[in-house]
């Protein structure tokens, strides 16, 4: 089975952010204590923490490039860079890591977004360097958890990290967010997530006990060992539900999504970026890599219900987004819609749809991250830091780059051809049409709705006469241009040359379909499928996708 070969890239990717977080947290400690009565002395020490954090995050990106180099794209469907060490033998839990193509892309998304979030937060927290230092240290701590959860190949390890990462996320929302309601939002987030997570815990335990007692050993919890068990059908369905509930809350999917808009409204844009664009992907990633292979029968059984809920999410999220007054809340609802697409793709059980979902997880992360961060730049320009769309107007005249990048990010969210999300969304649609044509027909109008919410928002915030409050607003400075530029560049590259990245998701998609025991529905769609990936398939090169996945 898996064993450690060569350099432990994934462990290094997990440990380094912890080191960076510690270094950030300790920078300037002892110098910056305001207790001395002189606040000025603290500036230097705590102020350089952000530099430490940024350098740490960039080193992590460099390490990621190494991991990509060590990853064999030709075999993207299997888990590579694997390491397995004993952890808690008495419980059957091991420290086992490894990535397939989709996992690696999500690791890249996490690692790539963190330096941008750090850059975007450069002047946040009201110029309070001690607070900023804590914020950045927490972000780096969260990064370590995020990487771990995407590479975990042991159900117990996955669960532990899945739950433990709530704590830093909780502090990011409640401790550093905006407005008096942020604590409420943080508690709501925590309770929703924990409720799902604890139900999943029962599922994890039940799954463990499905292994015949004689076969239980120190490595029982390895995902590979739990795959392909012969399960009692009822138990399998119950366990599927336990897992799926946790993932649906995390994702967030229609009936259990209500924590998300509150969080995006009250967290800082950087926190929302990490939370929605990366952390929530754990939900869909978990469906793909745990629900499908561990409970194939139950997945097929549940697919119709899930598809219906996914379609409701798609439409409901889009419709509610149109009605929002708060720009960050609006972006939150668009994510509900997009997560609906991802879940729809996963539960089509076609290699095209599943691969499309894998790609969409990456694309959604980049485009929504861009929306959050650029909207954050706009909010920072407002004298009252208002998040209400109605308080803006004509920002494009005074800040054209801000307006332009926001538009590109928004259009990508609306799946305009040529931009990243289009490729993945069309893959999901084509893949789904082969199995659930009705669902696709119902969901397609969401594309129009997406155009409506993006363009309406753009129109209200950026066009028309400039609001007096914003007359003095400056355009993006160099730091902000870097952040926006990298994200918009990634969107364009992924939209125009999706081929290299497709190499990472195609094989895992096929594996997932195979694991769930389905086959691609054959004929009619075949030509459509191949036409879905028209560009760039011949220019597959590993290095190309490295730069896309890790935008710095």
């Amino acid at each position: 089975m898996t064993m450690s070969t060569g350099f432990p890239w994934l462990t290094v990717l997990i440990v380094w952010p912890l080191v960076a977080a510690a270094a950030t947290a300790l920078t300037g400690v002892g110098r910056g204590r305001p207790a001395a009565g002189v606040t000025g002395t603290g500036r230097f020490g705590a102020g350089s923490a952000r530099t430490v954090a940024l350098v740490g995050a960039l080193v992590e990106v460099a390490l990621l490039v190494g991991a990509f180099a060590a990853f064999d794209t030709g075999d993207a469907g299997s888990h590579q860079l694997a390491e397995t060490h004993a952890w808690i033998p008495a419980l059957g839990a091991s420290y086992a890591v490894g990535v397939d193509g989709v996992g690696l892309l999500l690791v890249a998304l996490s690692v790539g977004l963190v330096p941008l979030v750090i850059l975007a937060a450069w002047r946040e927290q009201g110029g309070d360097h001690v607070r900023l230092r804590r914020y950045l240290a927490t972000v780096l701590l969260l990064e370590a958890f995020m990487v771990t959860v995407f590479v975990a190949r042991d159900v117990f390890l996955f669960y532990v990290v899945f739950e433990a990462m709530l704590i830093p996320a909780y502090f990011l929302i409640g401790g550093f967010g905006q407005g008096p309601q942020r604590r409420y939002a943080a508690v709501k987030f925590l309770l929703f997530s924990l409720a799902g997570g604890l139900v999943m815990l029962v599922g994890v335990i039940a799954l463990y006990l499905q292994v015949p007692a004689a076969d239980r050993g120190p490595q029982t919890f390895l995902t590979d060992n739990l795959t392909g068990l012969t399960l009692d059908p009822t138990a399998e369905k119950l366990m599927f539900c336990a897992f799926f509930l946790a993932f649906a809350i995390k994702a967030p999917m229609f009936p259990v999504h209500s924590w998300l808009p509150d969080v995006t409204q009250h967290a800082t844009p950087g926190t929302s970026t990490l939370l929605i664009c990366v952390l929530d992907k754990v939900g869909t990633f978990g469906m793909l890599t745990l629900c499908l292979p561990l409970f194939p029968e139950a997945s097929r059984w549940a697919a119709p219900f899930v598809v219906v809920l996914a379609v409701i999410s798609i439409l409901y999220g889009a419709i509610l987004a149109i009605g929002q007054q708060d720009v960050l809340r609006l972006i939150g609802y668009t994510s509900v819609s997009h997560f609906g697409f991802i879940i729809l793709g996963i539960f089509t059980f076609t290699s095209l749809g599943t691969a499309g979902s894998g790609l969409m997880m990456l694309n959604h992360g980049i485009s929504t991250g861009a929306l959050f961060l650029i909207a954050g730049f706009a909010i920072a320009r407002h004298p009252r830091q208002s998040q209400l769309i109605g308080d803006y107007g004509g920002l494009r005249r005074v800040a054209p780059i801000l307006g332009g990048t926001f538009l590109v990010a928004g259009l990508s969210a609306a799946a305009l051809p040529g931009l990243a999300t289009f490729v993945s969304e069309i893959m999901v649609f084509l893949g789904s049409y082969a199995r659930w044509p009705a669902a696709v027909l119902v969901a397609v109008p969401a594309v129009v709705l997406a155009a409506v919410y993006v363009l309406l928002t753009y129109q209200r915030m950026f066009t028309g006469a400039t609001t007096p409050e914003l007359a003095d607003a400056r355009d993006l400075d160099g730091r902000e241009k870097t952040v926006a530029g990298v994200l918009v560049g990634a969107l364009l590259v992924l939209g125009l040359v999706p081929g290299p990245v497709l190499d990472y998701v195609r094989a895992p998609g096929e594996v997932a379909v195979e694991q769930v025991g389905e086959t691609d529905p054959p004929p009619a769609v075949e030509p459509a499928a191949s036409s879905a990936e028209p560009v760039g398939t011949t220019t597959a090169s590993t290095t190309g996708s490295v730069t896309e996945g890790s935008p710095l």
Binding site: G37, I88, L91, D128, V161, A164, I167
Partner: protein, 588 residues
Amino acid sequence: MNEFVAPPIDWAAVSPVLVVLAAGVLGVLLEAFVPARARRATQLTLTLAALAGSLVAVGMLWDRVQENAVSVVGGSYLLTPFGLGVQAVIGVCALLGVLVVAERTTTGQDAFAPAAAAVPGTAYEDETRRAGLQQTEIYPLMLFATGGMLLFPATDDLIVMFVALEVLSLPLYVLCATARRRRLLSQEAAFKYFVLGAFASALFVFGIALVYGFAGTVRLQGVVQVLADPVTSPLGSMTALVVVGLLLVLSGLLFKIGAAPFHAWTPDVYQGAPTPITGFMAACTKAAAIGALVRVLFTLANGLDPATRHDVEVALWSVAILTMLVGTVAGAVQTDVKRMLAYSSIAHAGFLVVGLVGMDQVGSQAVLFYLLAYGLATIGAFAVVTLVREQTVSPGSSAETRVPTGEVPDDGVVLGEATRLAQWAGLGRKAPWLTAAFSLFLLSMAGIPLTAGFVAKFGVFSAAVEAGAWPLALLGVLASAVAVFFYVRVIVLMVLTPPTDHEAAGASAGQEPATGGTDGAPAPAGSGTATLTGAATRTLVSRTVVTVVGSRGPAAFAIAVCAVGVLLLGILPAGALDLVAQAAQFRP
């Protein structure tokens, strides 16, 4: 007449208990012979040495007991691996508990009344306080209680078990009454504990009587033999006797654990007792009583026929469900930190019983680990409570001379503990490390992964699911979710909420609730608070602020050990789980 022949006694096996009890006796003598000023140091040294010695004895016995349970005097003292494991947990928790008890903080006062016998509010009481007396009998009392606890799970004889129950309970009743402050509350707590405890003891004894009537013996092994072969006892066919007897004995034990419906004393006693004693009592008594419960339950229930055994299981299920519900639901509405921790301890009792319903080895293993995880978090949490105090703002001092946040004004007198939850708001600014430790303990109690509490909960719920009690596990999980709510509420209060009382009147402090330390700029805020607090202090003579007193070492050390332990058991529990697995080779 036969000549009395002294039975051969395996002194080594009894040594963990003997060391502690002998040190207790010695401690009483020391009270009489050692001069007052050296008494505390002597007693403390003796206590710590005795507990450490007991732990060493446990360690030396470990391998030997693995091979064979040691029976002394025909089972009056029976050392099974599980009993030894419980003794180890009790030893560790007692050692940490004593450290917290010994803490005198920078105020120079410990948590105990100068003379517990003085009637509260009398001139005599003032006199003792002025004379700077101290009640060093605390230490021998703790040793006696610990001795009883160590004996409790390590006997096969119900009468010896009853004696152990009393030996551990009586000193605790006294200790509960010795709080330095809020003495009436403390004495009320002791009285409640005593009355209800005596009632529980009566149930216990009555249960023993019924079991004896059934089997003609009080040895558990003997009872099991009669169960297997009823003709050996005149009433051997009346299984109902043993079932009722067993349930009564269980009631007595469940009382000590604080499981519903025998939980009513817990919040009052936990609140009224001196906080270091609460921590000691919560951790160690629960471990000892669970040890005894496992001993009785697993031995007897496994001897019952399936139908009768089912009756006992129904009782356990009811207790588990009720306890979890009471603990979490009532815990969620508490406004006093000690009462909240008390209800949390009731909820934990429920989780422990969930782990026991299978009455098998997996369950005892899970429960043992749970006891350790719970003990560390509990002692640590109560130790933190001892350091968070109220402090007077003397009416004469103007607000300008007072530093509004974080700093301890020189002219204030440090009073008792600030146990109202609202007072804990913004504690993170005053004492970031203490807050971090307390948050860690709460997270562990909530069962968040990477803390000991998670591994512990995982263990008991696994054991329940494996025993087919998955509804209990599901309920337990949901109860955990509710419990998380009130633990997190406290963390929110400490870390994210600005101080609510007049300390926070400074506008600048109110706007920037930070997540940790003291990063607001305190100096300029003083002028803002001047009028507000100045006026307020003049009208109200006894205004207090919340302050954190410094530890002189022992409590800080105990908190640090507990925090490290909680983290270590959460991240790398493999070693501890192996030990627990060895200890859980429970042989009836």
